[in-house]
């Protein structure tokens, strides 16, 4: 039981580490590139901005959920 818990924890920490690297990359690539454009959109075209904002947050949710699930499956498969 203790061995299983330790293994799960190890997998989780590894998942978190890989996820952190991906998130940092995401900050620099996507947010940096989108920042200026979103600022312009927010000040010039509010309705378009509102739709884009919703699409971005929903899209990110689906994408990150997919990434974490995939990471978890891959790491769990390897730890067995």
């Amino acid at each position: 039981m203790k061995k299983n818990t330790a293994k799960s924890l190890q997998t989780f920490v590894l998942e978190l580490a890989i996820y952190s690297v991906l998130v940092v990359g995401y900050f620099f690539l996507v947010l940096h590139l989108l920042g200026e454009w979103l600022y312009w959109l927010e000040s010039q075209h509010r309705y378009v901005y509102a739709v884009v904002a919703l699409l971005l947050i929903a899209g990110q949710a689906v994408a990150l959920d997919f990434v974490t699930t995939l990471l978890f499956r891959l790491l769990r498969g390897r730890s067995r």
């Binding site: 998130v23 900050f27 979103l38 600022y39 927010e42 971005l56 689906v62 990150l64 959920d65 974490t68």
Partner: protein, 306 residues
């Protein structure tokens, strides 16, 4: 990191950590976590109107992840969630209009802060009283509270809930997934409207109002209330995000950064619900609004940013 939309300088690690903590709370309690996120953004110098709108956007993303996980555990009543979404949208629009009126009057920060303190404090006191009373009832009936099985549920407020369910104002509907034979549609819509009003006014999905209301007023089991609330929040917070974004109250860049932490947190929170009974989840809920109260009072009194 500079966020040009709200003109705020915020460390992205701070946002990710806040998102992570709120994600855990959201997955476990079915709340948006605005009582933490709103004040946490205020502490970084983000104006209340931006804190409210941005928090809503972040909640949409987090709720998609958490509701999907709860659905796989059978904790979502889709019929109830869709009906509640209608009432919530009406309430959210009314709340957003109130914010606009206060912005024009120039006292949005003070009024929202005072209302937040009163509401958060009231919820904490009520849930402390109810969950402790319920757990004492369990203790009297058995040898102790340790024997309560996960997913087991009962409420000391049950008698009042049954009286509300007996109000057969036409039209009535059945909610088989939640174990309710008949309940007035108006009761559901009213609960949803009040939740939506607070959602638009104070920000977040207003799970801090709606999750307890679903348990105490509608009589939904706690685990189902958590999952259904999250599903409903996707629709209502989505509408709220759009409405606030059009009014210039959303910094989507802040929301996107917060959400990267919330994804992991939400998954941990959902798994944790499987190990706790309803009254214990409600008792554990109590400190959360109080933390929100403390942060709002601190910001209001000192006017300081951390």
């Amino acid at each position: 990191m500079f966020f040009p939309i709200s003109s705020a300088h915020i460390n992205p690690i701070y946002l990710v950590v806040i998102g992570f903590l709120i994600g855990i709370l959201g997955g476990f309690f079915g709340v948006g976590g605005s009582f933490i996120a709103g004040p946490a953004l205020r502490l970084m110098g983000v104006d209340w109107n931006y804190a409210v709108g941005t928090d809503l956007a972040h909640i949409v993303g987090k709720s998609i992840v958490a509701a999907r996980q709860h659905r796989t555990l059978g904790n979502v009543d889709l019929k109830l969630g869709l009906i509640m979404a209608l009432g919530t949208i009406g309430g959210a629009e009314a709340g957003a209009q109130l914010i606009q009126a206060l912005k024009r009057a120039g006292n949005v920060n003070t009024v929202v802060s005072v209302v937040a303190i009163v509401v958060y404090f009231g919820i904490a006191v009520f849930m402390l009283w109810e969950s402790q009373k319920t757990l004492r009832q369990y203790s009297r009936n058995r040898s102790g509270t340790k024997g309560i099985k996960p997913k087991e549920d009962r409420s000391a407020f049950g008698a009042v809930t049954q009286k509300i369910q007996r109000l057969k104002i036409w039209p009535t509907i059945s909610l088989p997934v939640s174990g309710i034979r008949a309940i007035s549609l108006w009761t559901i819509l009213l609960v949803a409207f009040v939740g939506g009003l607070f959602s638009g006014f104070l920000g977040g999905g207003a799970g801090y109002i709606r999750m307890p209301s679903m348990v105490y007023v509608l009589g939904i089991p706690t685990h189902l209330a958590v999952g259904t609330d999250l599903f409903e929040i996707i629709i209502s917070a989505g509408y709220g995000t759009f409405s606030h974004a059009v009014k210039g109250n959303v910094d989507i860049l802040i929301a996107l950064v917060m959400h990267t932490g919330a994804v992991i947190g939400a998954q941990i929170g959902v798994v944790a619900t499987q190990y706790f009974a309803g009254p214990k989840i409600r008792l554990a809920f109590v400190p959360l609004p109080l933390i929100g109260v403390a942060i709002v009072i601190y910001t209001l009194v000192t006017g300081q940013k951390i």
